[in-house]
């Protein structure tokens, strides 16, 4: 596949891996957080960890939009569909996120035009636990999976007699399309369309992690030496917003694409910054990201949306200035206002470690629920839901590292990483993995 295969070249990966191992200084640990779920997915799916030295650890950050969605927000969306009779449109991977046990309580007001007798009948049976949007759908909620915000608008046009709510989640990448459909709905004068806006912002979350009490309290436990910066997010906001982190926190940031070679090249660039004592924003993803970003996308977001003072993130708690809501001029399309929704925070399962995992404090295998009661088929926490979640990625692609290697297997040795298997000679030290002069300069990715 042209323009894709070039970024998945195994031979080049081996060369960059060899260069990383050669340049990562012995006796020094390197801890880099890949903020974005897309990077987590690429690292797991392509086995990038196999190519890294044991003293270089990648920490999965809170950049999976599904993982950071708090239970209370999913409850709101389910409530709109089940109690208020709305058609709720959502992106696919939101469907499986566990919600809170459905609350027993007063049934919807029979005179409520949105909660008819059908809705009441549905709610009566919902005293059990463990809903998700998918389970709510099976119970009669009209929840529809869409591939874009525009699809939700289309459904609103097709059903003028029904309330249609777009459950808008995601980082800066998915925000402009949401703003655009709100604008379109306003221009068309649609009366039945609204947005439950749960869009979150990257810079606020990075600052929150760096300011986290654990960072000071536990010292090395969460100390980070640098960030692999988001790919698609940066296409929209540019690289400039990360400059403050590099400067104020002395943390290097390398913005990288989602292809595995992008990630490896970014890791090499981070190693070099750490070795040289630099803390700068570098851009590995120059083929798509500029310093200023996409002005047109930023403009439509600024026109329709504004900052929330605070927003709850799953795993991170309330994070100041980290999310968006609709501006007062578009209040008619704000589902929270239209339906008079009050946000009710819901705690995670007591033993769920998603919060600590999202902050980089713990690894998936540190969680007692991981792989036992919490699996991709039965996710207890959000990190196990999306394939971009740290737990799901490790479970789906990397859990062989946690097991004793089978006999007669010429497989790679278990890694220090998140595994706990017995140590074996490291195959990555094999003679064929020599260093390559071609990789000594940054940005050797073919473009």
């Amino acid at each position: 596949m042209k323009y894709v295969d070039e970024f998945r070249d195994g031979a080049l990966a081996q060369q960059i891996g060899a260069r990383i191992r050669a340049e990562a200084q012995p006796g020094r640990d390197y801890r880099f957080m890949e903020f974005c779920g897309g990077h987590t997915h690429a690292i797991a799916r392509y086995g990038v960890a196999e190519l890294l030295p044991p003293h270089l650890r990648m920490i999965h950050g809170p950049g999976c939009p599904v993982c950071v969605l708090p239970i209370g927000r999913i409850d709101q969306a389910i409530g709109l569909a089940l109690e208020r009779g709305a058609i709720v449109c959502t992106y696919g991977d939101t469907m499986r996120v566990p919600a809170s046990p459905w609350r027993a309580g007063p049934l919807p007001n029979a005179r409520d035009p949105l909660g008819g007798p059908d809705a009441q009948r549905q709610v009566r049976g919902l005293q059990d636990s463990g809903l998700s949007m998918m389970k709510a759908k099976a119970r009669g909620a009209d929840i529809r999976m869409v591939y874009s915000a525009a699809d939700a608008l289309k459904i609103a046009r097709q059903h003028p007699e029904r309330e249609v709510v777009f459950f808008a989640i995601g980082f800066e990448t998915t925000t402009p399309p949401t703003a655009l459909v709100v604008k379109q709905a306003a221009q068309e004068g649609l009366k039945n369309f609204s947005v439950l806006c749960c869009h979150v912002l990257t810079p606020g979350a990075i600052a929150h992690i760096l300011d986290a009490p654990e960072a000071q309290q536990w010292g090395d436990a969460v100390a980070l030496d640098g960030f692999v910066g988001p790919a698609h997010v940066s296409i929209v906001i540019g690289s400039a917003p990360y400059e403050a982190f590099a400067r104020d926190y002395r943390k290097p940031v390398v913005i990288a694409g989602f292809e595995p070679l992008d990630v490896m090249q970014a890791i090499l660039m981070l190693v070099r910054q750490v070795n040289e004592g630099r803390a700068e924003v570098e851009n590995e993803f120059t083929r798509a990201v500029s310093r200023e970003g996409n002005h047109a996308a930023q403009a439509v977001v600024a026109e329709v949306l504004e900052l929330r003072e605070s927003f709850e993130w799953r795993g991170l708690g309330e994070v100041a200035y980290s999310a968006l809501r609709l501006k007062p001029a578009y209040a008619a399309f704000d589902a929270e206002k239209r339906f008079g929704l009050n946000y009710r925070p819901v705690a995670d399962h007591k033993q769920c470690e998603c919060g600590a995992i999202l902050r980089g404090v713990k690894r998936p295998t540190d969680c007692k629920l991981f792989g036992t009661v919490c699996t991709p088929d039965n996710p207890m926490g959000s990190c196990m839901v999306s394939s971009e979640g740290a737990c799901a990625a490790h479970y789906a692609y990397g859990r062989f590292r946690d097991m004793a290697p089978p006999r007669s297997l010429p497989v790679a040795a278990p890694r220090g990483g998140s595994g706990s298997g017995p140590a074996e000679p490291d195959p990555r030290q094999s003679p064929e993995l020599g260093t390559c002069g071609a990789c000594s300069a940054p940005n050797q990715i073919p473009t």
Binding site: M1, G47, P65, R96, F400, S408
Partner: protein, 351 residues
Amino acid sequence: MTTRTDYIRPLDFKQGRVDMNHGAGGRASLQLIEELFARAFDNPALREGNDGAVLDVPPGHRLVMATDGHVISPLFFPGGDIGCLSVHGTVNDVAMMGATPTALSASFILEEGFPLADLKRIVESMAAAAREAGVPIVTGDTKVVEQGHGDGVFISTTGLGLLPAGRNIGGANARPGDVVLVSGTLGDHGVAVLSQRESLAFDSEVVSDTAALHTLVAALLAAVPEGAVRTLRDPTRGGLATTLNEIARQSGVGMMLDEALLPIQPQVDAACELLGLDVLYLANEGKLIAIVAPEVADTALATLRAHPLGAKAARIGTVQEDPHHFVQMRTRFGGQRVVDWLSGEPLPRIC
């Protein structure tokens, strides 16, 4: 076939629609059967018009029976439709046991209001698939459900096949050292169907691979000694990944695949990139996985490749000892990963 001429008017296959009478068991039901199903599927057993078909089992053979329900949206897709799919799927299930498919039954659940023109198209496609495969549809059933209680057409097919005494092909037979072969490119059916979904219509040249594989199986079994083909399975729903995990668990073994060896069409690869899906989990309807003894692997591969349905066959991995029954893969990138079971429905990622 008895030709009835006393219907008030023939079925209107241009404008007509399925109504509740077509499933009530009365004259309208009979008319639908006679003017559509019996004509399309015509064969001696069906012509008898009895509640069941009587079939001979030659001495020295055992019967293999497989059944399959077919629910697909959209009903028509590039390269096929629910009709031919319902024949191929069951023929293949029988063939994967190493048996020769001999007869099929077909059960239709139709939704009131479904256009007769579409039903005719589906039934004729089914009949053509059965004729081409040489496996007659010898008995069947039709029911009609009220509008809103179905999805147009559901088809269940059951297949019978003859298995020579002593042949043992099954999911529990894979042994460490065996070789994993696949008969062609992966994910074609999955992408062809996805490309036609209303909410996701995108331009794609990919057509479904739906096909009956029993002649391919026959060629393979004829080319190698009895017992050398351990397991055969068609990686339909859940794709290659799920099918190999099933076999690994049944046989109590692990597997190691090589990503670089997987045959995948570039268009399928590109569609997966676009949608954030993994080709390993996409359905195939005209491909088989063969797990064979290492000493016959080359012969088996050459035999598959010599058949039109196996031209792009490939050797993709090996069976190995593994108490955890992991299916693993060496990535093209030089790393290693688990190829896990499918969890739920494959859902596109948000970014």
